[in-house]
Structure formats: C-alpha cells, structure tokens
C-alpha cells in the first residue's frame, strides 16, 4: 500500500467522519444516532491505523484497537441498553429546525477551515489537511449538544466531540502519548456509566429526559 | 428489508395460472388460455381501466382490489387501473346507478376517449340487484349509458371478472 493511496484513503475517511458528524446533528431517531456514532468510531479507528502506518507510529495501532473496542462496541452497547431501558425512540422536537441546523453546520465547517489555515501552512505531515475536519467534528458535536433537548442525544454529542479531539490529535501530531489515550478511554467509560445513572435519576425525578425540565430546579422567587 | 426482498425474489408467491385450480366450464377454459393473446391483439397489449363507483356497497371494489394482488395479479396481462378517465380504455362501473351518480356517470363516459369499453360489474350494475325498483336508483348501468358487457355476481369473484373481460374482448374482436 503506497503512501499516495494511503493518504487518499485517509482523506476519504476524514470526509466520512465529517459526514457522520453531520448525520449525528440532523438525525432524529435514537437507534440511527447510535449506529451513526458507531460508524464514526469505526472510521476513526481505521484512519488512526492508517495514520499509524503512514507515520510509522506503532502505538497508534493500539489506540485504534482501543477506539474500536470502546467507541464501536462498548459505548454504543451501553447507550443502547440505556435507550431500551428508558424506552426512548425518537427526539420529538429539536430546539432549531433541521435545515437551519444544517446551514449552521456548514458555516461551522467553513469557519474551522479558516481557523486551521495557518496550521496547515506550518505542518509538514501528510495528514495535516484533515485537521480542519477534526476541528469541524468537535464543533458539530458542540452544535449537537446545543440544539438537542434530549439528555441522551447530548451525551452522544459529547462523545462525538471526543472523537473529533482524538482525530485532531492523530492528524495533527500523529497521536497523543499512549498513556493519555488510555486515560481518556477510561474516563469515557466512567463518564458513560455516570451519565447512565444520572439519566436514571433525571427520568425518575422528572419522568422525562427533556433537559428543559431541569429549569424547574432553580429557586422560584 | 433486504431479507424480505430476497425472499420475494427467490421463493416467489406463485400467481394463479389459468385455468388450473378453477372449476370452470371447458369453453371458458379455452377463452382464458388465450386471454393474454386477445389483450395483445386488440389493445396493443395494454388495457387501462377506470373504476367508477356508481353507488355500490364496495363489495365489488374489494374484488377489483383483489385483482391487483400477487395472487390474481392482473397487471401481468398488461391491464392496469388508472386515475383519470382521460387515460382509460374501459370504464368498470359498479353499483346500481343511484340518481345522484347518474349525471356523474354520463360525464365520466363523455370524458373517456374513443375507442372505449363500458363494463357493468356486479348484479347491482346489471339490473339494480337487491336495490332493484328503489326510487333512488336507475336499475343498472344499461339504463344510463350503453354497456358493452355485464359481469354477474354479488360480488363477482376476481376470476369471474377476468373471464368476463375475456368474453368482452372476444365480442370486440368480432
């Protein structure tokens, strides 16, 4: 597999990651969201492996396997259990309507491209062009957390942001040190569990997962 | 979904082959066997039907719907139901033509381009059926517009409808 082809594949994967990020932003049904998230993790894992191959940084293989294990298998499974247990099927209404969200997303992508322009000039790596995509993925995850009312969709947005960060790390500097990644992975797992319990409490207190309900927590004066 | 499709493609529900599986008289059998050929010769293998409900009890409509299902599957003969009489070659009229529908039926016939066929489907359409003599009906399509064929039965089975279409096409052929 020559470098040319590998970098092509990498950019293709980057665009797929971008696509899944957009899909997460606009998708309403919960199961589809989980599938999209799993796919994003999968693309991320493959691209990490490819970057590892390109840069000859072999610890990236491990982190790619980690990604595969946690983001493609474990977290979706946990969330799926959660959804089944809480009987959530689709988000009824979003804060902003879907086409508007799409346009915002496009603007965000352009903005992040503009932001990363100087870094592109400096960096010499083959994968530097995917940095903009990584940043855009982070921003789209953020956008998702903003425009959705549902707590589960918000944690998915959070995890998507984390995907973006990992992708940024791999594409900008051929990956963070392995220790850091292990730590991050562990955090994610714990976060997922905590979120799970947290949701139970919300849904038992408000018998709904609409985070707008939490407005009721503040003091009425 | 893919599984469904594959199942459909490979183990297909067998549409009924005429005349097997039907206790019908031999001469009808003959007609059915070359039904396809007749549709071919007379209507360039394409017959478009517009169904007109002239005050029917919807039993006949159900039978017409059954014509479209995978069992009878009339579309394989090149016969189809259409949405506008302008597109149709044949009006399939059901029900004893009630007074309210009389003018509508006339206008529908007027709107169908020549050459056109008009078939009265069901006993009501034949002569008013159980409504015969009621002040509210005109006792059959024939009293409103000239009819090319009549399909007896209350309601007629899908087979009967297909048979009658065969007979009708015979008549047109002559």
């Amino acid at each position: 597999m020559n470098v040319q082809l590998a970098s092509h594949l990498n950019s293709l994967l980057a665009s797929f990651i971008l696509l899944t990020a957009f899909g997460l932003v606009v998708q309403r049904r919960m199961n589809a969201l989980l599938h999209l998230f799993a796919w994003q993790g999968f693309f991320l894992a493959v691209s990490t492996a490819i970057v590892g191959y390109l840069g000859g940084a072999h610890d990236l293989y491990i982190s790619s396997i980690l990604t595969l294990a946690i983001k493609v298998v474990l977290l979706p499974y946990i969330l799926h259990r959660l959804i089944v247990k809480l009987k959530i099927h689709k988000e009824v209404e979003t804060v902003v309507n879907i086409p508007a969200t799409m346009l915002m997303g496009i603007v965000l992508v352009i903005f992040s491209y503009h932001l990363t322009a100087p870094i592109r000039e400096l960096s010499t790596l083959v994968t530097r062009s995917t940095l903009a995509v990584a940043l855009a993925t982070v921003m789209l995850g953020f956008l998702m957390m903003i425009t959705r009312k549902h707590a589960v969709t918000q944690i998915i947005g959070f995890l998507a942001m984390e995907n973006g960060l990992l992708f940024a790390a791999t594409s900008a500097t051929y990956g963070m040190p392995l220790v850091v990644e292990l730590g991050v992975a562990l955090d994610l797992l714990i976060a997922a569990f905590i979120f799970g319990m947290f949701f139970f409490h919300i849904s038992t207190t408000f018998d709904s997962l609409d985070v707008d309900q939490m407005a009721r927590l503040k003091e009425e004066d | 979904m893919i599984k469904e499709i594959l199942k459909n493609v490979f183990l297909k529900k067998q549409a009924i082959q005429f005349p097997e599986g039907f206790n019908i008289s031999p001469e009808q059998t003959v007609k059915i066997v070359d039904f396809q050929k007749k549709v071919d010769t007379i209507f360039h293998r394409s017959l478009r039907i517009r169904q007109v409900d002239a005050g029917s009890c919807n039993a006949c409509e159900w039978e017409c719907t059954a014509l479209m299902n995978p069992i009878y599957d009339i579309q394989r003969f090149g016969i189809d139901f259409v949405a506008s009489p302008r597109h149709a070659d044949m009006l399939l009229v059901t029900g004893p033509v009630s007074r309210q529908m009389e003018l509508a039926l006339k206008r529908t016939a007027l709107a169908t381009p020549e050459p056109r066929l008009i078939v009265a489907c069901g006993d009501c359409a034949k002569d008013g059926g159980i409504y015969k003599g009621s002040y509210a009906v005109t006792n059959g399509v024939a009293n409103v517009i000239p009819v090319d064929a009549v399909i007896p039965g209350c309601p007629p089975t899908p087979t009967a409808i297909i048979l009658a279409l065969a007979e009708l096409i015979d008549k047109v052929a002559r």
Binding site: I110 | S84, R107, L110
Partner: protein, 680 residues
C-alpha cells in the same frame, strides 16, 4: 462632425424640447397632444439609442462644456463607453415604451387631463439621459434631482387615491435620503482631497486624477453605495419600490422599473470602476452579499404578492440583486487583478442590466394592458384572459420565460454568464472566498428557480384557467400601438437571447476600459453560434442550436402525428363527475404560493386567520368562512417603524413649545439672542 453621437443625442434633446414647446398649444386637443407628443418622444428616444449604440461601437469619447450653469461653474457633458451603453439601454426601452404609451395613455382620456403626464414623462426621459451624460458632480446631481422630481409627479398622477399620495411621498423621502448620501460622497471625492479653495475639481476628470487615501475612498464608496442602492431598491432600502411602482401609470412604471433603477447601477459602476478604480476586495464582497440578499428576499416577497404590479416591482428588487452579484464578483476579481474573470463578471452584470430593462419593461407593459382591459390589479379576480387578449398573453408569456431565466430567451444568457463567473471563483487566491462564494451560486440558483415558480403563478393565475372576475364580457385586446410596443420588446428579448456573442463583442471595449480584460475573442471561439465565455472546453452554450433543434423536433412530431387523422373531441373538463365546478374552485395565487409560504414563512410576518361568518350552529357546517391572510415585509417593522415612531415623538416634543401666545415667542427669541451674546 456633422453626424456624430454627440450631435444625434443633442438633436434628441432638441426634439424633447420641441415637445415641451408644443404642449401649451395642443393642450386643448388632448388626443392630438398624445399622438404628437409621444410620437416625438419615440423619435427622441430612438435618437438616444442610436447615439448610445454608435458611441460604444466606435469607442470614441467626446466631452463638451456647456457655458450655462452657475457662474464659473459650467456644466460638463461627456459620452464615453459607459454612458454610451446606458444611453442605449435607456433609449431602447424608452423607444418601445413611448410607442406603447400612444395607445395606453388614451385610456385616461375623459377621466383627467394628460397634459402634465406628458410633460413630466418628457422631463423624466430627459433627466435619465442627462444623468448618464453628466460629467461633473453638480450637473449629475441636478439631472438626478430632475429625474427624481419628475418621476415623483408621475407616481402622483392619479392623485385622488390616498394610497398613491402615500406611496409618492415615501418615494420622495427615500429618493432624497439617497440623494443626500450621493451628494456627500461627491463632496468626499471632490472636496476632502484637494480642499475647497477655488472649487474647480467638481468634475469627474478631477476626481479620476485625484488619489484618495484609502479610508476616504472607503467613506466615499460607502456613501455612494447607500445613495445609489436607495434608488436601485436594494434591500433593505427597497421599501418605496413595491409602493410606488404599482400606483404609477403602467408606461411610467415600465420606465421606472426598467431603466430608472439602472441609472443607480450606472452610478455604482461609474464611481467604483471609473472614479476610484483601486479598492480592497471586501467592497466587492459587500456588494455581492447585498446583491444576494436582495435577489433571494426580493423573489420570496414577490411570491407572496397577488397584485400583479406589486409582484413585478418586487421582481425588480430581485433582478437588481442579480446585477449587483455580477458587479460584486467583478469587483472581487478586479481587486485580485484577475482582469479576464472581472471582464466576464462585469459583462454578465451589464448584460443583465440590458436584459432586465427589456423584459421588465415588457412585463409592465403587459400588466398595463391587462389593467387597461380589466381595470383590475388583483390577480385573484383575473384568469382566462388568454381567450380575451391572445396577443398580450403571448407577449407576457415571453416576458415570463425571459425573467425566469429559461433558454432560449435573454434572461438565461446573463444568468448563465453569472454562473460561469461563480464557477471560476476557485481561481481566487483567498481560501475563505473559495469556500464562501459557491454558497452564493447556490443562492442564485434558488433565486432563479423561485422566479420560475413565481411566474408560473403570475401567468397561470392571470391568463389561464377560468375567469374569476365579474366583467368577463367587457375585456378587450390591447390597442395596436400597445401591441406594437410589446412586440418590439419581445423581439428584443428573443434577439438578445439568441445572439449573445454579437452583444458581447459590442460590449467588450467597455469591459476592457473598466477592468482591463476582454473576453469577446474567447466568447465566440467556436463561431457566433456557440457562447464560450472563457474557453470552449470550459463551458459552452448555443441558444440558436437549442432553439432550432427543439423547434425542428416539435414540428416533426406534430406533422408525424397529424399524418394519421386522429380525431380531437372537445368535452367538458374532467371534474370527477361533479358538474358544479365553478371558477372559484381553481387554485388561486394565494394557494399556489402556500407551500413556499410555509417553508420560508420565518422570513415574513404572516397573519392568517379563518373566521366563521355568520357563526354557524355547528362548526362542521359553517355558513360562510372568512379567510384573512396578511403577509408583510419584515423590514418595515424592523427598520422603518422605529424611525417613524422616533420622528413622531420628536415632533410632539417640539410641538410643546408652540404656544400661540406672542410673548412666549418673544421670550424664545430673546433667550436665543442672550445665549448667542454670551458665547461670542
């Protein structure tokens, strides 16, 4: 020197003066006045068009200095390529419209005197011609005011209706706000550079020569852009346009919408490319953004209208937007020294200027004939007019096809050139622009598709289907002169669509003078039939081939199918057997626009409610339903209402001082004097 553009144009002014001179004598015989007056106006505008075409064709620049004007501030006139082009635009449409007016204005006979209509029409024409000819700030502003004032009186022509007076006043206010901005801009250009001593550099030549510091240039540009967009009806300064155009007589609204708005385009091009001629890219980006906003919002507002002339007025906003898109792209390309692409974009914009003059004039003339025949402006009371006025229907249809940017007519050519300019934008060095500009192209595509939808609605509801109104019998076809005017305009639309390569070859020197690039050679690289803006393998479009090909196939199919005698029976329309179909059951303009109104509803302020009238015993069986829908321009509530409120508040405050007792006034003046004495 006997026969030259300058002599021809001056003879056209002479003819206009002759009209003014004859008017008092012919005043008593109105019919003769109309015939003679508008016939002479026709000749004058024909001369103007000839002068314009000629001066652009042989590319000479002539200047003359009139000794009249203020003491030692003489008037300067000049015909160069740019003014020649706009002379041609103004003259050509004025030629068609003047022919049309001969028949149209006769409709007012017996209702009111047409004398001042003719006088102000002539003044308006002369004003527009002088604006493009003026070569100094003073004379430009005088001509500008002449144009504005005369058009104000023309809008006010049917002054017994209160809405007309309101519209005319609004127009006057906006026009003068704009004029002040232009005046200030000229002040910056002429004054701040060289100081006001010995005020001789008010001529455009001096401004060309002067080198402004960038911040002053920016100030001048911004002021000029505000002023001219107030005249051109760029959103958000478009508010007067849909009020004033519908109430003016239709021949006047044809001129106003067709060419008066174009004088503003002339001003922008003149100041940016000729007087300032070096600028940063963000000027172009700003013009581009305003153009895009005007295009999209204009067409969306147009979709919501059911008054035919209001609809057309909003479409003027849209088309001005499209022209500004071309000019903005040209500015961006120029600021990056890409002269070839700049020439392409500029020619696209200017070509659309000419095209819009033609088809918008045609459409307003058609609307005028409909008005003339039915005395109705509301589309909901029309319908089926194609049976009563077949000729008008054909001409109006041609106008609709042209403005909807459909081949082979002229609207498509200029929009296609604009698309090409967009598609070449990736050559720009700035990555941000590379990503942003394609979105603009998408907006332009949205605009033209919405325009097509809007004109299916306009033509379909007005001319097709059953007649919805009450006076079906009294509708008559337009007079021959009106038909002639529309016919000529329609032919112009067709010719401009079929022979773009010749037009571009004619406009090329202008583009070279403005932005220093020329595309005529490459534009007709494959021959006159193929339009290939940059290169044949980049993009190509051949209107003649497409037209002839489709025509041939149509004729062949027709003959083939009629070789066999297939009978055609006429039958009542298929109403599903329900024989009581009435004309009220058709789709109306409101219902046609409903899906788009719902999709883009967040852009308008929509008030919609259904009332049972009278209250029925059971809600399921209402006796009569009263449906009320009001769609309003949001800009009115956003921008203008606050201004109005503040001014009323201020005037009320100042009103307090007014007491009516003489002593109080004496105290005011005494105090004023004291204050002055203290501070001196």
């Amino acid at each position: 020197m006997l026969l030259s553009p300058i002599s021809i144009i001056s003879s056209s002014f002479a003819v206009l003066l002759l009209v003014l001179a004859l008017t008092p004598f012919l005043r008593l015989n109105q019919r003769l006045l109309i015939n003679v007056g508008f016939f002479l106006a026709t000749i004058a505008s024909f001369f103007a068009a000839v002068a314009g075409f000629w001066s652009l064709a042989d590319g000479m620049t002539t200047q003359i200095i009139l000794p009249i004007g203020l003491p030692d501030l003489p008037f300067h006139l000049r015909i160069d390529l740019l003014s020649g082009y706009f002379l041609a635009v103004v003259g050509l449409l004025a030629f068609f419209v003047s022919i049309y007016s001969i028949g149209y204005v006769k409709g007012f006979l017996g209702q009111r005197s047409v004398t001042h209509l003719l006088v102000f029409y002539v003044l308006f024409l002369a004003g527009m011609l002088l604006v493009v000819l003026a070569d100094d700030a003073l004379f430009f502003l005088i001509a500008w005011e002449m144009m504005a004032a005369s058009s104000y009186f023309l809008v006010l022509y049917e002054d017994e209706r209160v809405e007309n007076r309101r519209a005319a006043f609004l127009y006057l206010v906006v026009a003068h706000v704009g004029a002040i901005a232009i005046l200030l801009s000229f002040g910056v250009l002429a004054g701040l550079t060289t100081g006001f001593s010995g005020f001789q550099n008010y001529t455009f030549d001096a401004m060309r020569a002067a080198h402004l510091p960038p911040e002053l240039a920016t100030l001048a540009f911004l002021l000029a852009f505000v002023g001219f967009s107030a005249k051109a009806g760029v959103i958000p300064l478009h508010i007067w346009l849909p009020e004033a155009h519908p109430v003016a007589p239709s021949n006047v609204s044809a001129l106003m919408s067709g060419v008066m708005l174009k004088t503003a385009i002339y001003g922008i091009v003149r100041i940016v490319f000729d007087l300032i001629h070096t600028f940063p890219w963000w000027w172009g980006a700003m013009v581009l953004v305003f153009g895009l906003v005007s295009a999209v919002m204009g067409v969306l507002y147009a979709l919501m209208q059911h008054d035919l002339k209001r609809l057309l007025a909003y479409h003027s906003v849209e088309n001005i937007g499209i022209i500004l898109i071309g000019i903005g792209l040209a500015m961006i390309f120029t600021s990056f020294n890409m002269s070839l692409l700049a020439a392409l974009a500029l020619i696209a914009g200017l070509y659309h200027t000419l095209n819009h003059a033609m088809f918008k004039g045609l459409l307003f003339m058609g609307a005028g004939s409909v008005l003339h025949a039915t005395h109705e402006r509301n589309m909901e009371d029309m319908g089926g007019l194609i049976r009563f006025m077949p000729w008008t229907a054909v001409f109006f249809l041609i106008g609709c096809i042209s403005i909807s940017a459909l081949p082979p007519f002229n609207g498509f050519v200029s929009e296609w050139l604009t698309y090409q300019a967009f598609l070449l934008s990736p050559a720009l060095p700035s990555p941000l622009l590379n990503l942003m500009i394609p979105l603009g192209a998408a907006l332009l595509a949205l605009t033209s598709a919405l325009a097509a939808a809007c004109f299916v609605k306009a033509f379909g509801v007005t001319f097709l289907g059953h007649h919805r109104g009450h006076h079906g019998g009294r509708i008559h076809e337009a007079k021959w002169s009106m038909r002639l005017g529309m016919l000529l305009a329609a032919l112009a639309c067709f010719g401009l669509g079929i022979f773009p390569t010749y037009m571009i070859r004619w406009m090329d020197p202008l583009a070279e003078k403005m932005v220093g690039g020329k595309i005529a050679a490459s534009a007709s690289g494959l021959g006159w039939m193929w339009l290939t803006p940059i290169a044949a393998e980049r993009a190509s479009y051949s209107a003649p081939l497409a037209f002839i090909g489709i025509l041939a196939v149509v004729i062949a199919t027709y003959l083939l199918l009629h070789a066999r005698p297939g009978a055609i029976h006429r039958a009542p329309l298929w109403d599903c057997g329900f024989e009581k179909v009435t004309s009220r059951m058709q789709y109306t303009a409101t219902s046609f626009a409903m899906p788009l109104r719902r999709i883009f509803g967040f852009l308008f302020s929509i008030k919609e409610h259904v009332r049972q009238f009278p209250p029925a015993p059971h809600p399921a069986f209402p006796d009569r339903l009263h449906y009320h829908l009001r769609v309003r321009d949001r800009f009115w509530t956003w921008m203008y209402q606050p201004v109005i409120d503040v001014s009323f508040w201020l005037s009320r405050r100042i009103g307090r001082m007014q007491q009516g007792r003489i002593q109080i006034y004496l105290i005011y003046s005494f105090v004023t004097i004291l204050v002055l004495l203290i501070f001196t």
